[in-house]
Amino acid sequence: MPEPIQAERPQEDRTKSERAQSDRPMIEIRDVTRSYGAFKALDDATLTIREGEFFSLLGPSGCGKTTLLRMIAGFDNPTNGSISVGGQSMEGIPANRRPTNMVFQSYAIFPHLNVEQNVAYGLKRLKLGATEEKRRVEEALAQVSLIGLGKRLATELSGGQRQRVALARALVMRPKVLLLDEPLSALDKKLREQMQVELRRLQQAVGITFVLVTHDQYEALAMSDRIAVMFGGKIAQVASPKEIYQRPVNRQVADFLGGMNFVKAEIVEENAASLVVDTLGFGRVRTDKPKAFVRNGGGATLGIRPERLRVLWDNATAKFEVAGKVVERHYFGEITHLIVEIPGLEKPLSVTETNDFGADDIPVGTPIRLAYDPEALVAMAD
């Protein structure tokens, strides 16, 4: 009898990124501050970006992510602190002599040049000879699937094509680091999702360190090896996408990365690896302690993502469950959002349920029980 084909459930730590990278640092940012008068656009940031890594700087506008990227590129200089790329200090080195290349948010395609001339722009100074230059340009155009469009003018290109030209123009220089400043924000949703996959694939093919600036959490989660989440000029957390999503260090990070239910908690016990908290809805819970957890009095917050709460149908039971009543229902096509009031909780829980079992038909007012995995509960600083 043939054995049934079945995906094995991964056993090891699922928060680890699956791709092994080199541990050699490529970019080292040490205590970097950038002030404009009294305002600190970047406040004492320290960060190491590894060789061959796809790294994202994620945060809302004004969080300092673009300032940091522009300082790596050499368009801006730190007020304090140091930046080194490939082991070499960047202090006093202007943008045109740094081993970095940038894809600009506006793409900055030279409008008076055609696609080939744009891509060859930086090569001209290297004096490679016509044959070698042509070969490199064609190689770069092939990498971004723009073969045959070399003679087009920038004004004759679509948004997606301009983006590819900007990529090719930077990649052709074979930089140590490719910097991307919100490269997908001007594209429509469908093209953006397609380009996310392509960018990731391209990065793995060329093996260059990519540093992406974005305010779109899904973009960062989908493409990155590691993410630095930034708020108000400070780096709040640096971790793999899974860890950032599942073990956010504080409420701000948790909130920025998508929907999260927050429950007030009291710390009962704290040690190096774990926290024990008391909550009203979920009782006494032991959770892993986030790496950068900083205790702020006796209070903390317990969080659970809406998709980690499952509706218990009929007489099904679970080891861990909470009971309540549906107060709102919102239909989103493939999923339904339920708002469930739990006795004792100051705020109702938000639940995301697939529509396979009829969550889209649950009447408002129905008593309901929700199952959860205690692993999905995360304690964090307020």
């Binding site: 590129a73 050499g74 368009f75 202007p94 943008a95 045109n96 002599r97 970095t100 290349n101 940038m102 600009f104 948010q105 506006s106 900055a108 395609i109 030279f110 409008p111 008076h112 722009y121 930086g122 100074r125 290297l126 920038a154 004004t155 948004g159 123009r169 930077a170 220089m173 001007a186």
Partner: protein
Amino acid sequence: MTAMRRFFAGGWLTAYAFLYIVFLYLPVIFLPIFSINTAPTPKFPLTGYTLKWYQDLPKTPALLEAAWNSLIVGVSASVLATLLGILAARSITRYRYPGRRTINGLIMAPLVLPEIILAISMLLVMLQLGLSLSLFTVVLGHVLICIPYSMTVLTAGFEGFDRSLEEASADLGESAFGTFRRVTLPMVAPAIISSLLVCFTISLDEFVIAFFLTGTETTLPIYIWGQLRFAAKLPGVLALGTLLLLASFVLMTVAEVLRRRAARRTQNEGGLYA
């Protein structure tokens, strides 16, 4: 109802537009018409067709000298005004600083100041400075009135110039000078040429300031003014006037085409991501 509306829209408005154009251009049309008339007095009916007034022009040394003077003044004034205009327009469009709008307003002011007042004030200043009146003083005067035109053309060309284009060039390894040569200059060249042409045209047919500020040398408009005192010279003036008119028209058309091309080039870039 619709018919009536069409009558008003099509009929009256067309007639109005037609009259408007006639009012603007009828006087100008007489110039070329009488310049090819055989009679020396500009009167209807026309007596016959001739090109002799045109043929006589190159035979007048005073006229050639005036034309040469005008060329020198026009070229110098347009180059100087455009150079100063480039600096000012770059500052106005690129940087944000207190007093930016006021400075812009002050630079544009000569456009609306009475020319005769400007001319008299400049004359007083020049004399106070001990400058002897010459073509040089005329050039200074023309620079003053050309700068607002130069600014208008250049700010349109510079506005929307995406700063990241220059950053991209630096990022790709180019030096500051190389960036200026390979990116900035080609991008703004149409606007600069357009400014040169506009300034030259303004200078070419400017009379009041040239009249006040020149010494013994005459420019073309001053030459024409001098000729008007002799009735017999009128046809030659008409012929010369026609040529000047034609030159201005051609220069301004080229300038406008270039200005639009420059604006389109820079705005295409910025507009898509606005």
